[in-house]
Amino acid sequence: MLIRPVALLGALPLLGALLAAAVPAALAQTQEHYADLTEDDATLPSGNPDYPYYTDAYEAEVAAGQALEVVLASLSQYMVPRVLVVSPSADTLANARYLGSTGLARVVVREADAGTWTVLASSADGGATGNYSLTISVLDEAPAATLHELAVEGDAEALATALEDAEYVDLPENHRTPLMFAAQGGHVEAVEVLLAAGADVNAVAGRPGPMYRPEMTLDTSLHIAAEAGQNAVVAVLLAAGADLTAENAYGTPPLVAAV
């Protein structure tokens, strides 16, 4: 395993097209990088050219059968972390924004293609700068699936097993709890497992935390299930005490979300 910063991006066709300038070489040789996004960095285009996404790039060598895990933590009030990873052939791009109020962005690539992966540390907000820590891990075994991943898949059995060791069933990811992901997907059994494990049926998406973001919807699981038309899940949530009158950030109750 070798992890090193990118010296020249011109050799990467996809990134060469995306990035407006070459990233200056950094010399870190370890998996941990502490660095700053600055206005001198390379940029990814944003909707407003005056506020590009400042970006640092790193490389990680991955062998066949290994997994890649990248965690970007913002150490700045103004930088909401976003991390992107690009496969050796530049045909796969995994993208993660920050995980709710944890201040982290995390990407896991299981069964990663062998070769040189590129990791882009950036911000979800155009024009944002700030310091961050980046951990790039190349693993012989992929990490266990998170509650969120299992909730998205609706794997109730695996969820039940994972919940036995979970410290906090409502840990948000991308502003949402595992219950919200299961509700959106219409996974009734997964919803029931999460509720039985103590998931808060009236938790709100993007409750303001250390890094409040104005687009937080404050939706509940009932809003999300109603909007997605997941009627069976709506029934389960109601039976578990979901609040019919909860209004989201736009003053909208679940019934309006269902229209």
Partner: protein, 48 residues
């Protein structure tokens, strides 16, 4: 929708109510024609 109404959801709650949203969308020019019958049905449901 029906489950929420059955559970007691208020069609007149919120800054823009479910009744208003359904009525507006049933009439709106920008709503695809294929969806208008659905919103009209919801509107009829809400207006009993």
């Amino acid at each position: 929708m029906q489950r929420l109404l059955d559970a007691g959801a208020d069609p007149d709650a919120g800054e823009e109510t479910a009744r208003e949203v359904a009525a507006n969308m049933a009439d709106a020019d920008w709503v695809e024609e294929a969806k208008k019958p659905g919103y009209a049905a919801i509107n009829a449901l809400l207006n009993g």
